[in-house]
C-alpha cells in the first residue's frame, strides 16, 4: 500500500518505446533524455498483410523504422511486375532521404509481409526538432547523413562489381 506508485500504461508504453528506439542504429548515439523526447514525436502505424507502406513514384514525407513484422522492399520491373529487393526486419529503417527533405520521388515500394508495426518520423517533425532542440536534431541528421553515405557507397560498389563482371578485361 505504501510502496512505489505503479506506472501508468502510458508511461510503460513510452518506456518500451524508448527501449526500442535505443536499438535503432539511427538513434543509438542519443541519450536516454533525447530518446524520451524523440518518443514524444514519432508516430506509431500498423499495417496489415500486403498493405503498401509507401509506393514507388510518390514523394516521401517520413522515414520509417520497422518495429514488428517484416517489410518487403520491391521495385517495378520492365514488365510492370514487382521485383523483390530486400526484406527488412526490426529495427531496420528505410526512406531516410524523405526525412532530410530531398523532395525526390521514391524509386521503390515497401509492403507489409504479415501484420507490421512501424514508427514514422516526418520531415516536419524533424524540422520542428531542429527549431526546438537543435543539438538533438543535429545528432539525428548527422547519423542520417552517415547512413545515407554508407548506402551510397554500397550502391557504388555493387555497380562497380556489376560493370567489372560484364567487362572483365577493363578491370585493373
Amino acid at each position: 500500500m505504501f510502496g512505489p506508485v505503479p506506472d501508468t500504461a502510458v508511461a510503460e508504453k513510452r518506456r518500451s518505446l524508448v527501449d526500442f528506439l535505443k536499438q535503432v542504429t539511427l538513434f543509438e548515439d542519443l541519450s536516454r533524455r533525447d530518446l524520451r523526447r524523440l518518443a514524444r514525436i514519432v508516430h506509431e502505424r500498423d499495417y496489415h498483410d500486403s498493405e503498401y507502406i509507401c509506393q514507388e513514384g510518390q514523394p516521401g514525407a517520413a522515414l520509417f523504422v520497422v518495429r514488428r513484422g517484416l517489410v518487403e522492399v520491391v521495385r517495378r520491373g520492365s514488365s510492370s511486375t514487382e521485383v523483390p529487393l530486400a526484406m527488412l526486419e526490426p529495427p531496420a529503417s528505410f526512406e531516410e532521404s524523405a526525412a532530410t527533405g530531398t523532395e525526390s520521388v521514391r524509386w521503390f515500394s515497401a509492403r507489409a509481409r504479415g501484420p507490421v508495426s512501424l514508427l514514422a518520423l516526418g520531415k516536419s517533425d524533424l524540422d520542428a526538432l531542429s527549431v526546438n532542440f537543435p543539438p538533438l536534431a543535429n545528432k539525428v541528421l548527422m547519423k542520417l547523413a552517415g547512413i545515407m553515405a554508407i548506402r551510397f557507397q554500397i550502391l557504388l560498389d555493387a555497380q562497380y562489381l556489376k560493370e567489372s563482371g560484364e567487362h572483365p578485361e577493363a578491370t585493373p
Binding site: 508516430h43 509507401c54 514523394p59 516526418g122 527549431v131 532542440f133
Partner: protein, 430 residues
C-alpha cells in the same frame, strides 16, 4: 447492370449522405457552440505563440511543467503591472468630470471655429452648410456623452474650492467657466432641436437624465463573460502542456494511405500560421513605433505617444483597426490638448487635428507600402476584398473577437484547402 455496380453506387450514395449529414451536424455544432469558439481559439492562439518560449526553456533543461508555471507567473505579473498602471492613470471621479468638461468645451470651441458658427449655432460657413446634416447629429451625440447629469453637476459644484463661509473662491475658476459655457451651448442646441424636425438633431437639454438601457446588470454581464471565457486559460494550459499528443492523435485517425499527405498538410498549416503570427507581431510593433514617432514630431508628449503607440500596435491585429485606433486616440488627444510643443514650426494648436490625421495617414501608408510586403510578405497573401468581407463577417457572427480571428481563420482554411488538394494530387489520390 451487375450486382457489384449496384453495390458500388449504393456505397457512393451512402457515403455522400453521411458526408452531407456530417457537414450539417458540424455547422449546427459550430453555430450552437459559437460562444465557446472564440475563447477556445484565443486560448489556442496564445498557447501557439507561447510554445517556442516553453521549448526554449525546456532546451535550457527547465522541465516543461516548470516552464509553463514560469510563463503563467510572468503573465500574472504582467497583468498586475498593467492593471496597476491603468489604475494609476485613471482619473478620480472628480478628475473624470473635469476631463469631460474640458473635452466638451474644447469640442464646442473647435467645432464652432471650424464651421464658423454664429451664436445661434445654426448658421455657419460654406463647409457647415455642406455637412451640417450629417455632422450636427454626430457632434450632438458626442456632446450627450460628455455632458454632465444633474447629479454629476451637483458633484462638480461641490468639488470646487470655496472661500470663507462657503462663498465661492475668489478669482476666476477656469473649469467653472468652461462648464457654464458648455451648459449655454447645450441649451442653445436644445432650443435649436425643438425648432427643427425630430430627425435632424438628437440633442438632450442639459440636466435631462440620460436614456437608460433595459438589460442585464453589469455584474450579471461580467458573470456571463467570466463563465464563457474561463475555458480560454484551460485551453491555453492543456495545449501548452501537450507535447505532440494532439497532432499524433489526429494522425492516428488518418488511414495509412493518407498518413504522409496528412503529415504534409499539418506541416503547411503550422508553417502558415507561424509565419502569420510572427509577421503580424512584427508589423504591429513597427506600426506602433511609427505612430508614436510621428505623433512626437507633431507635438504629442512622449508618455501619450507611448500609450497611443501601444494601443495602435495592439489594435492592428484586426485589419484596418490599427489605423482607426491611432486616428481616434490622436484626435481625442487633439481635442483635449491645451498646449502642444511640436518639433515642426508649422504645427499650431489650430491645425493640430489636421496634423494628427496627416501623421496617422503617413504611418498607415508606410505600413501598407513597406511593412506589410516586407514583414508579412506572402504569409497571408489574401485579396483585400476577402480581408474586408472576412473581418465584417467575423464581426457580424462573433463580435469584436470575431474580427480578431477572421484573418487567421481564413488563412487556415485557405492553406488547408490548397495544401490538401496539392498533396492528394501528388500522392495520386485524386
Amino acid at each position: 447492370m451487375t450486382l457489384a455496380d449496384t453495390s458500388s453506387r449504393a456505397g457512393t450514395v451512402f457515403k455522400s449522405l453521411a458526408a452531407a449529414a456530417g457537414v450539417v451536424l458540424g455547422a449546427y455544432l459550430v453555430w450552437g457552440l459559437r460562444s465557446l469558439i472564440v475563447p477556445v481559439a484565443v486560448g489556442g492562439l496564445v498557447a501557439y505563440i507561447c510554445r517556442p518560449v516553453v521549448a526554449r526553456l525546456e532546451r535550457s533543461r527547465v522541465p516543461r511543467g516548470v516552464a509553463i508555471a514560469l510563463l503563467l507567473f510572468v503573465f500574472v505579473l504582467g497583468a498586475l503591472f498593467i492593471v496597476n498602471r491603468i489604475r494609476a492613470v485613471m482619473p478620480s471621479d472628480t478628475g473624470a468630470l473635469e476631463l469631460r468638461i474640458r473635452a466638451l468645451y474644447t469640442l464646442n470651441e473647435r467645432y464652432q471655429a471650424l464651421m464658423g458658427l454664429d451664436r445661434s449655432l445654426t448658421r455657419g460657413n460654406r463647409i457647415y452648410r455642406w455637412v451640417y446634416g450629417d455632422l450636427d447629429p454626430l457632434v450632438d451625440r458626442v456632446r450627450q456623452l460628455l455632458a454632465l447629469t444633474p447629479e454629476e453637476h451637483a458633484q462638480f459644484v461641490a468639488s470646487r474650492p470655496r472661500g470663507a463661509r462657503g462663498a465661492p473662491a475668489a478669482g476666476p475658476d477656469r473649469l467653472v467657466e468652461y462648464h457654464r459655457a458648455n451648459v449655454d451651448t447645450l441649451e442653445q442646441r436644445a432650443r435649436t432641436a425643438l425648432a427643427e424636425p425630430a430627425t435632424r438633431s438628437t440633442v438632450r437639454p442639459p440636466g435631462a437624465p440620460p436614456p437608460t438601457s433595459v438589460g442585464q446588470t453589469p455584474l450579471a454581464a461580467l458573470g456571463d463573460i467570466v463563465s464563457t471565457w474561463i475555458i480560454s486559460p484551460l485551453v491555453f494550459l492543456f495545449l501548452l502542456r501537450d507535447t505532440g499528443e494532439i497532432k499524433r492523435g489526429l494522425l492516428r485517425a488518418v488511414p495509412n494511405r493518407l498518413f504522409e499527405p496528412a503529415l504534409n498538410v499539418l506541416a503547411d498549416l503550422d508553417r502558415a500560421l507561424g509565419d502569420y503570427m510572427r509577421g503580424l507581431f512584427l508589423e504591429c510593433c513597427l506600426l506602433g513605433v511609427t505612430v508614436g514617432l510621428f505623433l512626437t514630431i507633431i507635438g504629442v508628449p512622449l508618455r501619450w505617444t507611448i500609450a497611443i503607440g501601444i494601443f495602435t500596435g495592439a489594435s492592428n491585429v484586426v485589419p484596418y483597426m490599427g489605423f482607426a485606433a491611432a486616428l481616434l486616440s490622436g484626435l481625442a488627444y487633439a481635442l483635449l490638448a491645451e498646449d502642444i510643443r511640436p518639433l515642426l514650426p508649422m504645427v499650431s494648436s489650430e491645425n493640430f487635428a489636421i496634423w494628427v490625421i496627416v501623421a496617422v495617414a503617413l504611418a498607415e501608408l508606410l505600413k501598407n507600402v513597406v511593412y506589410e510586403p516586407v514583414v508579412l510578405g506572402g504569409a497571408v497573401n489574401l485579396h483585400p476584398l476577402v480581408v474586408v468581407i472576412g473581418v465584417l463577417g467575423g464581426a457580424t457572427l462573433f463580435g469584436p473577437v470575431g474580427m480578431l480571428l477572421a484573418i487567421p481563420t481564413i488563412t487556415v482554411v485557405k492553406v488547408l484547402v490548397s495544401s490538401t488538394a496539392r498533396q492528394l494530387k501528388a500522392y495520386g489520390l485524386i
